[in-house]
Each structure stands twice: as C-alpha cells, then as structure tokens.
Symmetry: D2
Subunit: 342 residues, 4 copies
C-alpha cells in the first residue's frame, strides 16, 4: 500500500513535535515536508535531538511544494495563520488537517469576540468538519478541512456529550474546572512560563475568557440538541509537562442512574478504541494517559446535591492535539483508526 | 515579658515540622517539649536536619510533664488521638490548640459519617472554638480548646464567608474545585504518594466524600445565617510540595456588584494582616503565598452565567494548619497577631 | 513468523511496567504470563491502568507453567530471588533474560561484598553473558542466561569502554558522577521516596558503596585489557521520574585527539542503532532519551587539566533496564535488533 | 539603634527578590530604594506579589539619590554593569556590596578570558574584598567593596578550603561536579529555561568553561598557599527551583584522617553560625538548606581509591548570593552576623 505523504506546517512547536513523534513511527506515512520559518534549513536534530536519525530538515513553508509532493497537510500554526494556508491547500486539492483554532467555531461573532480579530477565511467554514472522531466520524471520512478540537475541549466533550445526548444530564448550569500542564501554553518563551515561575505554582487563568469556552459551549449544545449552552469554565496551570484533568459538574435529569450513564457510554463509545470509561466511582489520573491518545474518565453521582461529577483525563498534546489529528488522518484516508497510535 | 512555654504533641509530621519552623523563630515562645512516639529519644537533627542547632529532642508524649512545664500545647495528631490528649490537658488547665479534625464539626452525626468512628470526646465540643481568626477572633481570645480549620476549608471560607455574610452571593449551588500539594496528604509512606506516582500526575480524589466537605458546609451556613448549606467539593492532587488553590463558583444575588464585594472584603477584613484581596479580575498563585500565613484571593464576575468565580490560595501547612495555629496562640495569649508570622 | 511467547516474572515494579509497555507493542512477541506475588489474580488495569485493554492478568510465578507455555522469560526481580528462578528455567531449556544483579559480577567475592549475601547460584555464572549488546552482541546470540547491566553501569560503559578499548584514555583515575531519576530506586514505598521528600531535593547517596560500582570497574577493566580498574562513583538522586546523566572524568593518553575519539566511536558503534554520539563539545540531555533505548553522549576535552569529560544520558528504565533486555531478546531470537524499540 | 538604610540596585531579578525577602524582615535595615530600569514606577506588588504590603516602589537607578539617602548599596546587576555603579558609590563614601562577578577575580586576564570583555574598573580591584565571611571576615569588617562569591563557588570553597588550609588534601587533581536549580540561571526568559524544557531534564553545561571555574581555582590556591590550582568543574542543571549540590573529589595527603578533617572543620568553622558539618559518612540534601544561609556538608573517605569525596549543599540564592550579601552587611556594619538570617 502506498504511503500517505504528509507535510507538517509549523513543525517546531510542541504540537509539531508531537506530530513528528507519532508520524515518524506511523507505518503508513511518509513525512515529506516539515516547515518552520524560524528554523528553515536546520536539521531536525538541532531542534529536536530525540528525532535525530529521521533525516528530516526544516524548510520555509511553500504551498506549491506541498501540493506537488504531499497527499495531506497538518497545520500546527497559530490561529489566523492557519487560515492563510488552508485556503490554497484545499483549492489545490488536498485535505487539510488543522490543529489551530481557525475553523472550530461556527459563529463568526464568537470568533471575533474571543480571538479579537475578524475571521480570516469565513468562506471556508462551510467545508470545515469538527475533528472529534468519536462524534463526527462519518463526516470526517470525506472532509477536506478537519478542524481538530482544542485540548481542554476534547477532555470535556467526550465524557459530557454522551450524557447530554442520552438526556441523562441537563445542559443548564454546567461548570467545568480544568487543570493543564505547561506544554498547553505552547513552546512560548515568556516570563510566566520559565521554570521557576511555574514550578511549585498553581494558578487559575483566563477565567471566563478562555478561547476554548465558546467551543465547549457550541458542541455541548449540538449534543444536547439545544440552541445554546452557557457554562463556566476555569482552566488552571499546573507544573507538569503534559496532561489535562477536567472536572465537570452537571445536574442530572430524572432519567439518570449510574447504570444508564454507563449504558450511554457503552452505546456511544463501545467500539471507540481511545475511550476508557473507568466506571461509576472510579477516577482517572493524567499519568495513565500521557503519551497516549486515550481519554480516560469516570464519575461520581453526588446524591446530597444530586449533581454528577465527571472527571476526565487526556494528554493535551496527543488526544488534545496531534494524536487526534493523526486519528482524523487515519479516518480520512481509510486506514485503521488506531494505526500509529497504539 | 515571659515567654510562652509550648509543647508540640506529634511533632514529626509535616504540620509538626511547620510548627517547629515557625515557633523556633517566634520571639515570645520557648519550645519545651516535642513529642513523637516513633522518634522518642532522637535529636531533632536526625528527623529534620534543617532544625539542627535548636537543641530539641523528641520525647514520648506525657500529659503530666506537659502540664508541669508548658503554658499551652499544640496537637498535631491524627483525629481520634487528638481528643485523647485534649481532655486531660484542658482539665489540667492549659489551653489546647488542636490542628486535628476532632473538634471542628459541631455535629456528632457528621463526624461519624465522615470519620467512620463515634466522636471520641463529645463532652468537649461545647468548649471548642473554631480557630479561624478572621471570623472568630473574639471567641478565640478566651478559648481553652481551639479547633484549627482544615486546610482546604480555610482556603474556601475566607473568601466565601465574607460575601455570604454580606448577602452578595447565594448559599445555594456553591461548587468548589480545589488543588493541593502533596504535603496535604501528610508525611504518609504509601504507594500513591511516592515521587514517581505523583510527579507528572494530576488527579481528583475523594469526590463528594472528603472530610473537609461537611466542615466547609457548616461554616458557610453560619456565615449565611441559614440552617444548612449543601455544596459540591472536589479536591485534586497536584505535584507541588505546598499550596492550595481553590476555585469557588457562587451564584450572585441582586445586591452583588464587584464594588460591593470589594467593600465587603474591606469591611470584614480591612484590618486583617493575613488577607490579601487582589481585586476584581485579579487571580492568585500559590507561589505567592507558600511559606506565609497569607490567604490571597481575587474574583471574576462571569456575566454570561451571572456567577461569581473566586480563586483563593494559601499554603496548606501555614495558613492551612500550623501558621494559623500560631496565629490563634498569639490571639489567645494577647500577643500581636502577626508575631513570628511575618 | 511465529511469535516469541514470553513470561515476565516480577511484572509489577517499574522495570516490569516498562517491559510491558515495550512488549505489548512488540510485533513479534506474545506476552503469555506476567507474575507478581502481591498482585496475583488482579487484572493488569488495576495495577497499571495505562495497560488496560491488553487483557493480561497477574499470576503467581510458576516455573512449570512458564516452561510449558513460553519461549523465554524476563526476570524483573530483586537480586537473590532472580537466581532462584534462573536455574530451573534454564534447566527447563529456555533462555533467561535477567534484569536483576545476580549474574552481572564475575567475582563471587565482590558479589558478597556489595550485596551482603553469598551468591545464590554460583554454578550458573559460567553460563551468564553480560547483556550489553554493543559490546557482547555475538555472545548474546547464543546465551542462555543474559545478565542485563545495571542502569548507571550502562550509561558509563557505552561511552567509556570504546575509548579505553582504543587506548585513548587511561584506566587509572576515572571518576564518575551520576544523576538519576527516582524510578531508579524501584517502586519502593519508603519515606525518602515520597514526593515531598524528593521534590525540590538533590542528594548524593551510597558514595563509594553503590552496588553498580564493582560492575562498572569489572567492565572497564575488560575494555582496557587490564586486570582491574578502580574508580570513584557517586550517584545522586534528582527529582525527575526517568533518566540518568553520567559525567565521566578520564585522563587522556598521548594518542588522544577529539578526532581519534570520534573515530573510535564510529568504528565501534557506527552500526549500533541505539548509540547517539553528539560530537566533540556537544552535551546530552536526559529529556532527549527518555522513553527511548538510546544512549546519547558527547565530550569536552579540558585542555587546562588534560582530562576528557564525557557526558552520557540514558533512560534508566529503557536502555538502563527493560529496553536493553528486549534488545537482548531480539538478538538472541534472531530478530532485527530494533524491533519494538523505535 | 539607627537602622541601616539600604538601596538594592537591580532588584527585579531572583537575587534582588531574595534580598527583598531577607531585608524586609531584617530588624536593623530600612530599605530606602529599589531600582529596576524595566519596572521603574511599579509598585513592588506588581512584580513580586508576595511582597505586597512592604510599600516599596521600583525606581530608576540614581547614584546621587542613593548617596543622599542610603548607608550602603547592594548591587544585584549583571557583570559589567555592577562596576559602573560601584565606582561612584564608593567615591561617594558608602560601602558597596556587590553580588555580581565584577570584583571576584584578582586576575584581569582571567576576567577577560571568561567574561569576554576587558575588566570595566580595574582600578577598584585593589579595594575589593572577597565576600566569603568564613574566610575573610576580618577584611570584610572594613571593606568598602565587598565582592560576594559565586553560588557554585561558595558551595565548593567552604568545605574544600578548610581541608586544603590544614594540609589534609592535595590541591592537585581536584574535580568538582555540581548540580544547580534553575533560579541559578537568573530570571532569564530564554527557550532552554521554560518549564517544559527543564522539567524532566538533567543536563551538564558549560563544561570546563563556566565563569565560576577560575574563581574556584583562585580561592583554592589561596587556601592551599600555592600559586595556582587547576581543577575540573562541571555544572549540571536540575529541575528544582533552588539549591546547589557540589560533589568534590580530592586526593588526601598522608596527614589525612577523618578525625583530622573533622578537627580542621571544628577549628576553622567552630564558631561559624552558617556551617553545618554533618560528619564522616553523612551526606547533605539541598532540601535541608533551601531558604537558609547554611552550608551543609559531609564526606566519605573512599579507601579503595584513597580519595576524599565531599558533598556540600547550599541555597544558591541565599548562601550562594543574597543571604551571604546580607551576612557581609551585618559584619561590615558591626551587627550580629546572623541578624535577619535565622
């Protein structure tokens, strides 16, 4: 079988490094192009010594070369910039797998509100499929623009949407409290992210203002079959490299029982290779999922408040970004969904 | 001025070590007795090398000796055991400052429900004063049994009770999500707490079952002037040594404005030396409070849900345990409240 | 091709977990038996949730069952215990890959001196091959007892023996200073290894008394072609999960030039897939090798003392233990050496 | 008693922050001026929230104002810049306590070799006293320019010079292997120091090229009474915030016995409040000294190589920088040496 020839645009950040980690071992992929404006011309070993021996070299991004040599392109770029590349690549006929935020929100207004700029390519939104395979697998199979979900978003949607879809929890008064490792901030050279400022520190940030908030709300509404959902979302920065832990508070409906919740998960995710529902009363740990594409979760039904508390863990760079992107590629190109991801 | 002669009963755990750190520098204190069954006879330098030079030696706990030589005793013991010591020490006429959980809950029933044993000394409960100085200072001045609050509890009560008391937030539907460093688990030698099991790990635990839950509810009810309050409380373990970050979600009342909240804090805590209210929109960080007795907090009013989100940080061993205990001692013995704590 | 059926004896420690991580993805291996006295009967997911889905269950160790069902056995046991299993398994006709220390030292006297017990199976020593593939590959191909090197030892021998062998450095006055992550201590539940005792701590230990010392000396002597070598070796514990960094000080001989050293590495390791020599003046980092079977190293020739300083990094659990064990299995069973290890 | 009025020039880095931590609690000090070009005009709480309440504000550095208002100035500046301030301040008549590297080396040549620039103020060198109180206390009492030692240097000199001075170890073939926490790199915003690049990483750096190397050699030679000493020095970066652990390999002389070494320490440091010699066979831990001004050390005599291995720990920011600077101020101004440092 012919290998899929891929380009990674913006390969020098943490999402790019994680794509490289996965794709250099993927049996059906040939990495043809890795780009980085800042590192163009450098051997990969200079930037990521772990990947010495893969023989790759960074180049300047070049749409024509990608179109000539590749079957697909991953965009691991800042928002705004991703849209600039998506358009000509799609026009050139190859499917684009976007890890940026540019095509996740359906609402141009929300995009502007949270990203503080006008949407850079509104015309492409109609082609964008939301790249959460466990909920949009069929659309992904034929998508030409796959908008991979945000990391926090993935950790929340997987356990929450199944219960909303089954009518076991209410879409009202949902509260999410998330913890993330520092790679979630990107490979960003900024004072708050140097080691002594993060180590032995725990802090909430972007309270009610995080860019993943409208994305969570959008997809919870889809799952609940309602027009809109309004939640609280508070992310926290924690001194680990990788991992997200989300604790989700939801009001249960009259239909809720722990057994019904377990059945909903079984029905909706029973065949999903990257879902690990631990069961009623069992709680996940990020160290069980780091460097994997798995979302691990469990719940506790708090009878004295009649609220359901779901705890969910993913690796922010794998299932929260690059692993999920590869999962989408596998689906889009008709491969076994787990190829290169186990 | 004559120094206060103190005993530390159970001085070999982390709360004991923190008491030693503070009291060895306290200008008005003479540490007379430090006890540890396991380390009796050992020089302090063998257990805590930092404290070499203080000349202290661990001994077996001996109530009569404490009564003969000391003016007060700190109990840094497991629950149940603390009550055993409190009774004869109080009968012997010295005030007891208890860091354990034995005298925090007013309800014997809740004690049994959460601690799984009958209360060991119900007769003493009427003498116990809840040792949160910012709310019970006057009672502490004459208390003979001071029940220092739990660490999570302190981080929640300080920012939340002031707003409840002022009627700016509702006592209903309060949700608390807390993060704690590993010293919060005590100096416990158990597989889940060894370094490789905690490092690079984030995990919720004791969801809706933590022993600090009924204590938070009890004191929120007092502040709100209602019979009972029912909350959700989810603690998380995070790989830092010290610190607690609590994120508290509360529904605001019609009276709420950010200015009114700031005014309530000013009115209730304006003279409190260990309260650092950062202001509207400002968020705390545990690294700003570790090794201090300060509670630092700020809030965000999320208009799209009309909920108030308060984030609060303390050092779990200082304001969350031993620092607060010393603050209580200072108050009880008529010293400046900050003595030895700045 | 028929898969190699393997047993992992002592699979519940960190070396066992790492064997499981590698072997569950190894395309030519079928894990038949995993043993743990303490966890016998438990599903693997209870002990290592990451490995849920592999369908494995811990059992009590049973030599007869291993001989009936397996082609080889990995021993991830404490020293002393490993010898008890090695003997009947070898007699039963399957090659044994031992990660313990029982068959590394040729000298019974040194074994007794450093392990404080008589050697448990001196009769087997003649069959033992030292499992450092880069130096003993041919012997490993037909070995029935492969004694995998210690973790510190591997990090020192790979860069040092090649230079000794080439006569570029002197076997006299070698000094080694090593740093290790906490998994190096095993999955040990002991006060010095709980999180708050390791975090924010750096400490030397077992100075001139570490069990890896005689093993390093033995193999340096072999490489140098001398009767014995005497070194200083000081290990340090550092708050990371994985990784060893060894800094090796050696006196250069008259033949030494940086080019000659590079040539020696090229000659001796030019085809070795897990050796990454960075070059003159380049220094390794443990984060480049964690979770890989690679040994990365570089050197600096300090002209003002005329000493060579070699810095070397491995993952203590992979190249330092289980990865190397699998590399040995691959060699012993005629597979590509890198199978399952890239 | 009149308080010492101090200026801290360059107060926004980690050494500055540590000076502030110590001096805000120092009973004989009034902080008059804190400078930072970058933060001039900012309240201290904006830069260091822990220090909110001290009422300090950053200003632009202004020599005339310092001379008008202060009795002494601490320079916590990069090398080169420190010399620019030292000259006018000294001329203006106040003693200068310099934490930079500008006045540590006696040799202009070595300064140029290691700092890559000509010495900025060679005329001041004759006035500079090396600020290691345990060895230069009498000179410090009347010094007008105190050059506080480097952090690594302090950790090495304290245990090593006493033995050299007593003739118990040889000044030849000394090898030093040090580990440092990340604050040692300063509050530097650079890719290698962001959290994910340091966490789970151990790496040697500046092998045989570190700027502290000639400083260690200079002072070892003084202690040994020889013209020059030549050593190997390899620093390593380790993921902790604070602390240095130095392991020092020295050849013993015929006079050496463990008892003689202990006696030498007793004789030379018996009255020194910040020296904690643990004894023969005892090893230090950085966690015992962080946030203190103590140097803790012990040794092992390795009989099989006849080398002495000394392990030494300090807090790089306290005894390694700002604590030692305050100790020097105390000496210079005739205060009890430990004032503000216990």
């Amino acid at each position: 079988m012919k290998k899929i020839r891929v380009a990674i645009v913006g390969a020098a950040g943490y999402a790019g490094e994680e794509l490289l980690r996965i794709l250099t071992r993927h049996p059906q992929v040939e990495i043809k192009i890795i780009t980085s404006r800042q590192n163009a011309g450098k051997d990969i070993a200079e930037v990521f010594p772990r990947l010495a021996g893969t023989g790759l070299t960074f180049s300047m991004p070049d749409v024509n070369r990608i179109l000539a040599e590749c079957d697909t392109a991953f965009l691991a770029l800042p928002h705004g910039l991703a849209a600039e590349f998506a358009e000509p690549l799609m026009r050139g006929g190859i499917p684009v797998i976007d890890i940026s935020a540019d095509f996740r929100l359906r609402s141009l207004e929300k995009y502007k509100q949270y990203y503080k700029v006008d949407h850079p390519a509104p015309g492409l939104l109609k082609d964008a499929v939301y790249g959460l395979p466990e909920r949009y697998r069929e659309q992904i199979r034929k998508a030409n623009l796959i908008a991979c979900p945000g990391c926090y978003v993935t950790s929340v949607l997987l356990p929450a949407t199944a219960l909303l879809h089954a009518g076991l929890v209410s879409p009202e008064n949902i509260i999410v409290c998330s913890l993330s490792g520092v790679t979630g901030a990107g490979r960003k050279v900024d004072l708050p992210y140097i080691f002594p400022e993060c180590n032995e520190s725990m802090r909430a940030y972007a309270v009610s203002a995080h860019r993943h908030l409208p994305e969570i709300e959008q997809e919870l509404a889809v799952a609940a079959g309602v027009d809109s959902v309004t939640i609280n979302f508070v992310p926290h920065l924690v001194p680990v490299n990788r991992g997200i832990n989300s604790t989700i508070f939801m009001n249960v409906t009259d239909k809720f029982t722990p057994e019904a919740a377990a059945a909903a998960y079984q029905e909706q995710y029973g065949n999903d290779p990257f879902i690990r529902f631990l069961g009623n009363g069992k709680l996940p740990d990020t160290k069980h999922v780091t460097l994997t594409n798995v979302c691990e979760f469990g719940f506790v039904h708090d009878k004295h408040t009649n609220r359901l508390i779901v705890c969910s863990c993913i690796d922010n760079l794998t299932k929260g970004a690059s692993g999920q992107a590869v999962q989408n590629m596998n689906i889009r190109f008709g491969l076994e969904e787990t190829t290169g991801l186990l």
